[in-house]
């Protein structure tokens, strides 16, 4: 059994890992999982890229929450991405808090956690780290890279930065840049964390994190993952375990109680500094920026085939952002498929039951 493959793997690659922002990591650790068997020609490898607060546990139970993998609707036996056919890799992003190098990691130079001494990272850096992992696994070329939301940003970046290493790109509910509104919401979250006295400039102890600030950040962000119609349908103005409002500041409304619960459960599994670094990486993301703002030029060298999916009620990364990417790919002459699917569930739709999305991804991967 090759120790590089399987569940709950981790690799530390010695030597400097230079970053787009000018910083350097003295070493690079990547926590990852693989599913399925790598073909003799290594031609069946599919990389799954995760979103902001997700992790490498795409198709196996989360070690802290015990919940099933976060994308078992798409990845698993009998699904479009199937370990019976594909060799599936999912790695915790650079900057993450589930085992890959991030602010919670120990700086080998002084034995202390990096905290805010961790260099600022970008989506390109996350992808460069994944490329180093693929080198380690002996995979020269991916049959596909698939991601939703921030995972989609990584998938698109793969096609631009490593044009010869990706055959197919599936980018779901995503954008080629962060909009002013995207940045604005992230800034609210970061300020909530940094305003928590327990944050202490990032130098908090592991057992005394700025949980209140991180919970508020999550609550604000969670609203952006849903839709107005979805919230109305799920909660309306219904009250939580009471017949009338309390004329106080308890969680009178079900929607308040729900958000508080989302915030509290999030702090159990996520690190506040990681949240700062990863949201910053997303805010800095603009695929066209190094190409004079011309997205078509960013894709000029790509040899990948592309599949983009958006959802009608997603206002975080709305369909117009996907169309902008499609337009650029068409101008670059790259083969692209795109569909906007009907869903009332907002941005989160890509993680929920979406039979048409599965059909599209299955057909795209099979061709």
């Amino acid at each position: 059994m090759d120790q590089r493959f399987g569940l709950d793997r981790s690799i530390t690659l010695a030597g400097d890992f230079p970053l787009a922002g000018g910083g350097v990591l003295p070493e690079l650790t990547i926590a990852y999982e693989t599913y399925g068997t790598l073909a003799a020609d290594a031609g069946n490898a599919i990389l799954i890229c995760h979103a902001l607060t997700l992790d490498q546990y795409v198709a196996s139970a989360h070690p802290r929450t015990g919940k099933p993998g976060w994308w078992t609707r798409l990845v698993g036996p009998g699904k479009p991405v199937d370990p019976a056919r594909h060799f599936i890799i999912c790695a915790n992003v650079l900057g993450g808090c589930m085992g890959s190098s991030g602010p919670t990691s120990i700086d080998p130079r002084d034995g202390q956690p990096f905290a805010m001494r961790f260099p600022v990272i970008t989506i390109s850096d996350m992808v460069a780290a994944q490329a180093r992992l693929l080198d380690h696994l002996g995979i020269a070329r991916l049959a596909a890279v698939i991601g939703g939301s921030m995972g989609g940003m990584q998938a698109l970046t793969w096609a631009v930065n490593h044009a010869d290493r990706v055959e197919r790109v599936v980018a779901i509910a995503t954008a080629a840049r962060h909009s002013a509104q995207n940045i604005a919401f992230h800034e609210v979250g970061r300020q909530a964390i940094m305003a928590d006295p327990k944050w202490r400039g990032g130098a908090y102890a592991a057992d005394a994190p700025p949980a209140d600030g991180l919970a508020v950040a999550r609550m604000a962000a969670h609203i952006t993952y849903l839709s107005e119609a979805g919230l109305t349908e799920k909660f309306g103005r219904r009250l939580q375990n009471r017949d009338s409002v309390s004329f106080g500041f308890d969680a009178d409304f079900q929607v308040e109680s729900y958000l508080r619960h989302q915030g509290l459960s999030f702090v159990e599994r996520f690190d506040a500094n990681s949240y700062l670094y990863i949201t910053r990486a997303m805010d800095y993301f603009d695929l066209a920026e190094p190409f004079g703002g011309n997205l078509a030029r960013a894709f000029a060298a790509t040899r990948s085939r592309f599949c983009l999916v958006s959802f009608t009620s997603d206002w975080l990364y709305p369909t117009a952002e996907s169309r902008r990417i499609v337009k650029a790919l068409n101008a670059a002459g790259a083969p692209v498929s795109f569909v906007e699917l009907e869903s009332p569930f907002g941005h989160d739709a890509f993680l929920l039951d979406a039979p048409e999305m599965n059909r599209v991804v299955h057909g795209f991967l099979a061709a």
Partner: protein, 197 residues
């Protein structure tokens, strides 16, 4: 796997596509024509389709299809990006058919356009005798429900191509799928044109 035979009007369109061509099918539906062209002629096909369900079906059969609107999205494609651009049975649903035609011959070296012939005798007779907008085999939906907003006859279409200075390489009228060389504007239910700039 033997490809399913094509509908007769599509067969006439397909006949104009050379082997191995780069093809864009506008209003490609669930990708039936593109899949046939790929499987039997080895074309490199792309499609545009308005309906999300049909796009999903087409991508599900391994085709590169973009959900979009020909009235607005063709401008995004570079000049001469395709050997052949196909607009089958879709022209009459366009907001600005002449603009779409101009885009077709810009992004394709050749364009194949098929459309229901509003000059067909059944249409003329229906209007003449019944006094009602015609509902026929090739125009099956009532006037208030049809997506078809710009009807034309084969003669009208010829006049438009002349007005736009387009070269008609081939023009045919089909009656129930069979080429109708006698009085096509009266006897053909479908017009098929091969155009270039």
């Amino acid at each position: 796997m033997t490809p399913t035979p094509l509908r007769s009007d599509l067969a006439a369109v397909a006949a104009a596509v050379p082997d191995g061509a780069r093809v864009l099918d506008i209003g490609c539906g669930d990708g039936g024509l593109l899949a046939w062209l790929r499987d039997t002629k080895g074309v490199e096909g792309r499609g545009i389709e308005l309906d999300a369900g049909k796009v999903a079906a087409a991508v599900g059969r391994g085709l590169a299809v973009v959900q979009g609107d020909a009235d607005t999205d063709l401008a995004d494609y570079p000049d001469a990006a395709f050997d052949v651009v196909i607009l089958s049975n879709t022209l009459q649903a366009m907001q600005r058919p002449a603009d779409v035609l101009a885009q077709l011959v810009r992004i394709g070296r050749r364009a194949v356009v098929s459309f229901p012939n509003f000059g067909h005798w059944r249409v003329r007779l229906g209007l003449l005798l019944g006094g009602r907008m015609p509902v026929t085999r090739s125009l099956p939906v009532s006037w208030h429900e049809t997506p078809n907003i710009h009807f034309c006859t084969i003669a009208d279409f010829e006049a438009l191509t002349a007005e736009m200075g387009l070269t008609v390489e081939r023009a045919a009228g089909l009656a129930a799928g069979v080429e109708q060389s006698l009085w096509p504007n009266l006897l053909a239910d479908t017009g098929v044109f091969l155009l270039r700039r």
